[in-house]
Symmetry: C2
């Protein structure tokens, strides 16, 4: 199977599409830009969702659900927001079909036109803040810490499975606070959760940073992000946490009585990560033989393959190992298929990214051992049956750590300082990754750099050191380096 | 607070709306027919979802995700399906808005008209079977046991929170099989899961049955259902499991090579339950003081209220009890609010349906005991602090059982045999509930009975005994009684 994957060195973009298809993560659908998330891809997303959901709940957040549709007029209420989101979106104009009088199936019933069009949510700030107006009267109603798991639609022109699709799944948190400080604290708390999730679960190192005004969420006073680096040297924005100030409270008249008995506009945050993370996961760890998954997010962590066939004695021994592993909370599949050969199965499990494979034959059994192969390095060892459960438990932790360390080493090697335009271009073209360079702080320069180099300012890292320098484009004075990269 | 709930005896329908609002389960939204599911309502749905999801997975099902949008032409491919679903639905006709040249916000961009309109899924058989065509080639690809948790939209004219909303959340299972028998077995397996979930988790007794051809799902060869009885004597269809035969495989050309090397159309099932279950849960158990929840679905199972105030000594004792309960897997809230009085809090926790309330004051502490109040019967007991954890654990089981037994006794009392039209009408009008009556088996008679009485045939119970009789309307011969009721 692996030979059907285009090597990364040949065409990274095609390699990605091959992995998505051959690891059965997603399929194209007949609806432009919308994908079908296949069971294996969805199982990975479920693991991400459950881990994040637990982290949100531990920090006091609760889930709710708001309508899919947003009245068109709502989008216009926040001036910046409408510019960012009201353009490429799915518009519902009618609520009924009828039989075509010409007998060709069904047609839209022109009499069933909505008075006001409905927009399929591209994000839910407007409908949620319209609701919060009814829920918030006093400081006692605050903070309101609500998250929603939902589908959203943005009519993207160029799509790519997981990374950019017209419909995608995500979580969107929308919190309301009695003070600016508390809202800012929440924004940063979530940024930390995102970074911790990316690093501890996805084994994907990220840089926490602040977006430039030009890259800010439409309607935010400040956008924070986590930025990851893919194997092709392009950056991926993996999650964003927005400090919304009082913008949406003003747009939707959400006032509260503060402790001083004064009416005040409520302070807000919003934050989200999406199925895009699955794309980031693929591009951080996988290789030319298929998907590589960190054990914490692998739907099957260990597979046991009887060699050469699942005869009863070997299946029985495999069952015992499986039981020992399951007792440790490890998910195990015993492959009892008797149609395909071990070599085919090995390639298949490499393709779908099972972190650990156990090969068990009669000779192994006689010798009281089993062959353990790890997906990340392809190394194999013979391990005693007596100790294999402990060995595998430890190995899963080692793989998780190894994937993170490997990705971090790659990322760290790909942060290049550049002091001149020539150095900047060379780093971008020859090496890829992040380029740390001085910028004069204006949107004009930012856009000009993007125009010339295709690189954007990914972020100003949180805790960035101050350093005097000159903008690589204009030579104007600058107080800090920012991170540029080409990005997904 | 309770005084703000309309008593059931006065206006059951208003009582229901009052519970939904006062127990903070859902709110109306500015989008017609769409509700906002509030955190407390959503937490109940999450518990339902998690329990059902585990039951589906235990029986070999996996989750996936298919697009929100369905090309209009897909709906026309299955003749019966289009009649049932293509009418009242949300139609996306455009993919862009633009600034109104007159300066009034945004308008639909007439140049961004879709070539083919997209329908927001009312159910996903068509898009899924269009995908299965690519996934299924041989009997080795079968069975395909896939479930999806999703939102769907049906443009209902009269809506009611949870029971009937334009957008609702549900799960829809779509399975593909190599034989008719296997598909029928799956249909019934899911019916059993639904019934078990309703009875064991929701404490809501249900009757498993078969729908008449007239009440069948559009595109099914046979529809099975679980039917529950609400406190006002009206029935609620709580879940359906459809045997789809080869209808969708024919409509979407889904063929497989069977073991005899012959091309054959695939056999199908589909099945779903939705947020409607939350409505059923409310109407099965709740009372004039608020929501009553079975412990297995209660987001907070036990609340501990310090009396009269959360002073440190009482909070410390409450914390100890909470820790003991949590060690048993029980979810506990210690109310440390110092603003409201115990009486207010008691009413509040009754309103939101917390199954067990512990009241803990200084006098209780001195006596080494705590007051335990159960929500279902309102009974209170003093229990020794030494044994309270075991007592509460057992009490939660007792409440779960009591709610089921109480609902089952009510339901069983409300299945009335009727042998004449007069008896039928009297049972419906005076008593309500299910009426078991003979019917001549024709859709014509079924519709005439509905027209005259507003009652529909809820189902023909699975395993219904054969019995010779005469149709209550036409007097024609009948071989079995069927269950009629007015229904939600």
């Amino acid at each position: 199977m692996a030979k059907e994957i285009t090597p990364r060195s040949e065409d990274y973009s095609q390699w990605y599409l091959d992995i998505v298809r051959k690891a059965r993560l997603a399929d194209n659908s007949p609806v432009r830009g919308c994908m079908v998330i296949r069971p294996h891809g969805f199982a990975i997303w479920e693991k991400m969702r459950d881990a994040l959901d637990a982290m949100f709940k531990e920090t006091g957040h609760v889930n709710a659900y708001f309508p899919l549709f947003i009245p068109k007029s709502f989008l216009s209420k926040e001036a910046a927001h409408v510019e960012g989101f009201a353009k490429e979106c799915a518009v519902v104009t009618h609520y009924r079909l009828k039989n075509d009088p010409d007998g060709n199936g069904v047609i839209v019933d022109p009499e069933a036109k909505l008075e006001e069009e409905l927009i399929v949510r591209p994000t839910s700030e407007t409908i949620i803040w319209n609701t919060y107006r009814d829920w918030i009267q006093s400081y006692r109603d605050l903070p309101l810490l609500i998250n929603q798991w939902a589908n959203v639609v943005r009519w993207e022109m160029r799509t790519r499975p997981f990374l950019r699709t017209a419909e995608f799944l995500w979580q969107e948190g929308h919190t309301a606070h009695a003070s600016k400080d508390e809202a800012m604290e929440e924004t940063l708390k979530i940024l930390d959760i995102y970074a911790r999730f990316a690093e501890e679960y996805m084994a994907m190192p990220v840089i926490k940073g602040i977006k430039t005004p030009n890259e800010r969420f439409a309607g935010a006073d400040e956008t924070f992000c986590i930025e990851a680096l893919m194997q092709d040297g392009k950056a991926l924005q993996a999650g964003t946490s927005h400090f919304l100030g009082q913008n949406f409270a003003r747009a939707f008249d959400v006032l509260f009585l503060n402790k001083d008995n004064q009416q005040e506009h409520v302070w807000a945050t919003s934050w989200g990560v999406s199925t895009r993370l699955v794309g980031g996961l693929i591009m951080t760890h996988s290789d030319d033989d298929g998907l590589v998954l960190p054990p914490k997010l692998a739907p099957i962590q260990v597979v046991i393959v009887p060699i050469p066939k699942p005869v009863p004695e070997i299946l029985e021994a495999a069952g015992k190992i499986a039981a020992q592993l399951r007792a440790k909370g490890i998910s195990v599949k015993v492959d009892d298929d008797d149609q395909n050969r071990p070599g085919f199965k090995f390639a298949e499990y490499e393709m779908i990214g099972v972190p650990v494979r156990l090969g068990l034959g009669q000779r192994d059994l006689d010798a009281g051992q089993v062959e353990v192969a790890r997906r990340d390095t392809k190394e194999k060892s013979s391990v005693s049956l007596d100790t294999v459960a402990d060995y595998v438990a430890q190995l899963l932790e080692d793989i998780q750590a190894n994937l993170f360390n490997r990705a971090k080493a790659y990322r760290d090697e790909h942060i290049t300082p550049a002091n001149t335009w020539a150095e900047f271009e060379e780093a971008l073209e020859k090496k890829g990754g992040f380029v740390a360079a001085h910028w004069d702080g204006t949107t004009e320069t930012e856009l000009e750099i993007k125009e010339r180099s295709k690189a954007t300012i990914r972020c100003i890292p949180v805790g960035n050191p101050e350093e005097t320098g000159a903008c690589i484009l204009t030579g104007k004075p600058s107080t800090q380096r920012v991170l540029f990269a080409k990005a997904y």
